[in-house]
Amino acid sequence: MSEVVKKFMYLNRKAPYGTIYAWESLEVVLVGAAFDQDVSVMFVDDGVYQLTKAQDTKEIGMKNFSPTYRTLGDYEIKKVYVDRDSLAARGLTQDDLVAIAWEDMETEEEVDNIVEVIDSARVSALMNESAAIFSF
């Protein structure tokens, strides 16, 4: 690839249901993954609920797309971050979140879980490093 690889961040701030933002963001991430950029996906504020386990959407008549987050690794996304303060403010810990596995088929390098809980200083630093931030 001759093009310059840029750092893109997808920033997710909203709860998974009630608005279309979470699903739209996930679709853009998956479609955009085809373009071989340096992509990170960040979850802050109510966005952290997007990654919670055992979601049940029957009563609200929406498709439960939470299992789809586990394909991010298949789409060669390796950087998924969650803001620790946002989790703590909602009484959640990493144990409440899905694990996303990642594997490189060529080198057979494997990571069991790419979801990383980070502090706010790291969140800011990563935002500053990004060439573009897509906020949902």
Binding site: E27, L30, V31, A33, A34, K63, N64, F65, P67, T68, R70, T71, D74, Y75, E103, M105
Partner: protein, 112 residues
Amino acid sequence: MADMIEVDGKQYAVDEEGYLANLNEWVPGIAGVMAKQDNLELTDEHWDIINFLREYYEEYQIAPAVRVLTKAVGKKLGKEKGNSKYLYSLFPYGPAKQACRFAGLPKPTGCV
């Protein structure tokens, strides 16, 4: 009015690109009829991929893009099947797009 296809005397709605409107209605016969429309005869090798896609959708609620499918097939069915040459030989209109249609899934996310 949606388009319809007829399978074993029953009508099924499909969208303007030929994808099944309601994936819960899927029966294996639908794949056969769709394949015939594309001048394909389904073999066990085709069914391996179709069934694989249905399982993938069941687990992840998404129809995978072609390169993700290729990778996942290689992992599940063996490296000799996890390459685009093999998959295109089975599904000449694009392994993800065409096989997903036969499997009753929506058009893959990430396919243009």
